[in-house]
Each structure stands twice: as C-alpha cells, then as structure tokens.
Point group: C2
Chain length 100, copies 2
Amino acid sequence: MDTVTRLVSSRPVVIFSRSSCSMCHTIKSLLLEFGVNPAVYELDEMTKGPEIEQALLRHGRNPIVPAVFIGGEYVGGANEIISLHLQRSLQPMLKNAGAL
Amino acid sequence: MDTVTRLVSSRPVVIFSRSSCSMCHTIKSLLLEFGVNPAVYELDEMTKGPEIEQALLRHGRNPIVPAVFIGGEYVGGANEIISLHLQRSLQPMLKNAGAL
Ligand SMILES: N[C@@H](CCC(=O)N[C@@H](CS)C(=O)NCC(=O)O)C(=O)O
Ligand SMILES: N[C@@H](CCC(=O)N[C@@H](CS)C(=O)NCC(=O)O)C(=O)O
Ligand code: FES
C-alpha cells in the first residue's frame, strides 16, 4: 500500500495542503466550519512531502494542492469542493463517509 | 533606488506573483480582462526573486503574493483587488494611473 493510500484510508476526510497556500486555507476552513475533523497534511512541512506529491501527480492530480479525499476517495481540489458545496452535495457526502 | 521601487515605477500596473499560485492567476486574469497590460514578475522564476521577496516583506507585505502596484503605489493583495472591483473603484484607479 503506498503512502497516499494508507493516509487517505485512515480518516474520513483527508486534505493535502501547503501551509503557504491561501486557497488551501479557504478549503480547510470550509470543511472545519461543517464540523469536520480532517486530517491535514502540509506537504511543505513533511519529510515525506515530495514523495506524496509524486504519488498525487501519478494519480493525475496536477496542480497538486489542495487535494481532498472523502471516505478514502479522491474528490477534488478547491473548485470541486466549492462546487459541491454550492450544489448542496457536500454535506451528504461527508455524512455518508462518517465525517459528520 | 531599490529593485522593487525601480520595478513598480516602470509600468502603470505591476504584479508580483508566483507561477504556482492560483490566487495570483485569478488576480492576473482579472486585470487582463480589464484590458490592462501589467508587468508580471513571477518571483519563483527570477534570480532576483528572494531579494524582491525580502524587500516586499520589509514594506510590510506578508504573506507576499500577489502584490499589486498601480501607478507606483502598493494597492494590495487579492482581497483588496477583489474588494475594489466589487466597489467599482478599480477601473477609475486604473484609468488615473494611465493603465487604461
Ligand atoms: N483548480 C485547482 C487549482 C489548484 C492549484 O492551482 N494549486 C496550486 C496552488 S494554488 C498548485 O498546486 N500549484 C502547483 C504546485 O504548487 O505544485 C483547484 O481548484 O484546486
Ligand atoms: N489575504 C492575502 C493572502 C495572500 C497569501 O496568503 N498569499 C500566499 C500565497 S496564496 C503567500 O504568499 N504565502 C506565503 C508565502 O508564500 O510566502 C491576499 O488577499 O492576497
Ligand atoms: S499558493 Fe496562492 S492560492 Fe495556492
């Protein structure tokens, strides 16, 4: 099992982020406001950061951050999360994953 | 005259950016849509990038990018530019600076 797979299956909501990225900050805040307790991995602060970036790139995620996984599944970046939120699909998705 | 002062007085609209930052991309696009022809400096792609970052930090700009100068004056980051746009104050400011 590669690192990303192990990390994303360990918590209902997992966010790969960079601490310097304000768009990542926005998405983190949005999920926190829902009452979610996400696992947040700041790739610029982790020794394994480059390895995880490579894995995300291989999974087709480019540009890389933010990368949001819900229930172990890749959901999307900032655009997708915000679209789902506007379509009122985000909360049901979080509930189904046991994040709420 | 320090590098930043020289750069920001050379064109009506100057943007300090990072090529990897999507918020910078949004602000660049917004100004281009106005018909402005900004000087864009991608700090992650310039040898002088770190020097310019230090100068911007000393001028109180933290976090650093995007940093937008109009008519040689520091106007703000993404939040300020978007607020001015919503208040309909951005276009007059651009006109006064000779950018439109
Ligand atoms: N449209 C994407 C934008 C993602 C994006 O551009 N992320 C930037 C940071 S804001 C990035 O990862 N840049 C390339 C890199 O840092 O490797 C989204 O909605 O999440
Ligand atoms: N509120 C600021 C946010 C600026 C910001 O957080 N910029 C980030 C990139 S999105 C940054 O420069 N981070 C620190 C750094 O990279 O030095 C704005 O509206 O522009
Ligand atoms: S680095 Fe600026 S929005 Fe992501």
